[in-house]
Subunit: 389 residues, 2 copies
């Protein structure tokens, strides 16, 4: 139906796995009751069991209890629910004070900006040149009256991992709740809430070959949080709306399919792309950390060329990569992430994000670098930005 | 995998249609980019086109423009977004005044109750014995400073249709916005927003054999409404979150599959069940209107028997029906709908809701009445409620 392209952008991880669809089918065609029908008849019980088994799979990957997982429509909803829900529940009990990092994805960042406009005090913590949180500034900003801290586990564009151990220890010390957006890191990078005092975790299915339109929010037992959306009493009265059981089952299957071996395979592709780009092409800057990053992410700036021009040329050659944020490449605004790590507009506009998924191979990694060498050379030859012009 | 049962409860319409899944597959496995990638490469354009084509299909069934349709995670979200979004946008411009009917489904009813607690003035309009809105009370309650009216098109339990023409004319006359929850009526009962001055319409896919976890909200162009969830700029900046394109495509396919002929076929099953129950079984009350009701809905009270007992016995015989609200049968609370039409607790607890879907036949309608005759007779023989005991 569509063209044959090698996807090394966010789409690399959004392609549904056939096994996920197979796991969902019984809940499309056989156990399709709404879960709350369980007292009525048998199929309701089958459907409910599928839902609760899925909840358990997701919880256990995180070191959590099943009852601490709420299914949502995706990571945007999870993060909105976490931040707005906790701040609202703590109104009058703590200061209206929220702390986030400057590199958060839009669901957290724009929620924070909205709350800032509504009168909350919101502090945006700086990061260093690799995207690592400025712990000193964070320590100076947090108080025991801070209501919530929201710091991502991994960055959506440059893949940098935060030191959640250090961050959560500081929060625990101040008795402040911590939310982390793990949209891109869940199952790819370890996170065990039975060991780290993280209170809320945003997760998504479609970033690991699961279905679109489903996510989850881990809420540590006892965490004060308002209900998200009004209506029925689903999800232990924390999120109204008929349960999306087929997608919950698909999400759990997607979690089960991610293995440590796969993550190592992705990391090998990542390392190959970074190493070859840095050695075979001149004037390349790695964006993000060289050592502490998502296994599936590479991000580099190819100086003296527009990232948009590169992606268009690569598309013609049958390769898909992204500029800037996956969710935002429509915008021609410079990436707030690259600017946040101290890059200028030229660096931001020349940045390319590579993502690796289950269906990529190490050959894809080599092929795209071969193509990139030609594209960058040709574009630089005609570029007014080039140092040679 | 599961037992063989004839479903005549809400599950009758929630079974996914195979054709819907087939329509979704290309967006699982081929055009799986996020729509906002469109400037990056070809697959993003294919995905975006699938999304926009789906939007158009849904809009055109409603007499709307594609740009007036926002995809959501389901009808609960649509109604929350409509009511909270409009009230928030009109704050300071109109009175904090919301009007709903007493029979609304929980997504509207509990949103209204929440707003009432938060200081909004909320009026709940009575209905008559068939569930039809008390137009006199409504006319006496609405003022030109009312911010929003939310009256369902059809009731979720007793199937009664409201006179949206009369209601929308009154709203237009007072210059007040009107939202209608069409979760159970969309495609089953005509609604043309190019003819009726309805401003917001809640729709759902899983009530018409479409996928779970996707719905839509029609928002008439120019309607003041706040953005739902913060994050990316998807859905023309009205609802953040990566688009669920496969499900949007499935929703559109589900809409296309509903035909006037099918609706007539459902109405024939409904009429058969009502007529035979009333003639073959004693002490039966029809709940809702005999003439103005959803084609796929029947609801009757079998006096001197508990509805829960009937459903359990029918389940053993291989039939699924519901008591009370589909989303709420877990609760043993009496249905607010049956109480709202003047029924007492005995009538509420003895009520059964039948729903008919694409995969039911007129033989199912006959078979369930045959079974019901025996079940009701046997239960009444041992019931302490029975007039004979």
């Amino acid at each position: 139906m569509f063209n044959e392209t090698i996807y090394l952008d966010n789409a690399a991880s959004t392609r549904l796995d056939e096994e996920v669809l197979e796991a969902m089918k019984p809940y499309f065609f056989d156990a399709y009751a709404v879960a709350t029908s369980e007292f009525g008849y048998s199929m309701g019980i089958d459907a409910k069991e599928g839902l609760e088994r899925s909840r358990k799979v997701i919880a256990s990957r995180l070191g959590a209890q099943a009852g601490e997982i709420v299914f949502t429509s995706g990571s945007t909803e999870s993060s909105n629910m976490a931040i707005k829900g906790v701040l609202s529940a703590l109104k009058g009990k703590k200061d209206d004070h929220l702390i986030v990092s400057r590199l958060e994805d839009f669901s957290v960042l724009n929620t924070a900006k909205k709350l800032d406009k509504q009168g909350y005090k919101v502090d945006f913590i700086n990061v260093d040149g690799e995207g690592v949180l400025d712990i000193d500034m964070f320590t100076d900003t947090i108080t025991s009256q801070t209501a919530l801290v929201s710091i991502q586990q991994a960055n959506q564009e440059i893949g940098t991992l935060q030191d959640l151990k250090a961050i959560s220890d500081i929060c625990e010390d101040k008795d402040v709740l911590l939310h982390t957006d793990a949209t891109h890191s869940f199952t790819r990078v370890p996170l065990d809430v039975s060991k780290l005092p993280v209170d809320l975790v945003t997760m998504s299915a479609h970033t690991i070959h699961g279905p679109r339109g489903i996510g989850a929010l881990y809420i540590r037992e006892g965490t004060p949080i308002d209900k998200w959306m009004d209506g029925g009493f689903q999800e232990s009265d924390r999120r109204a709306g008929v349960e999306n059981i087929p997608s919950a089952v698909g999400f759990a299957k997607a979690v089960e399919l991610v293995t440590p071996e796969e993550n190592e395979r992705l990391a090998a592709m990542r390392d190959r792309v970074i190493e070859r780009a840095m050695s075979d092409i001149s004037h390349v800057t790695l964006n993000g950390s060289a050592t502490s990053r998502l296994p599936q992410n590479a991000n580099m700036t190819f100086h003296y060329v527009e990232g948009e021009s590169i992606t268009l040329h690569l598309d013609m050659l049958g390769f898909a990569v992204s500029t800037g944020s996956a969710c935002f490449s429509r915008s021609l605004e410079a990436s707030h992430v690259i600017l946040g790590i101290g890059g200028n507009h030229e660096r931001a506009h020349g940045s390319l994000r590579f993502s690796f998924g289950r269906f990529n191979t190490i050959e894809d990694a080599d092929a795209i670098i071969d193509a990139l060498k030609d594209v960058v050379t040709n574009l630089r030859a005609i570029s007014p930005l080039s140092e040679d012009n």
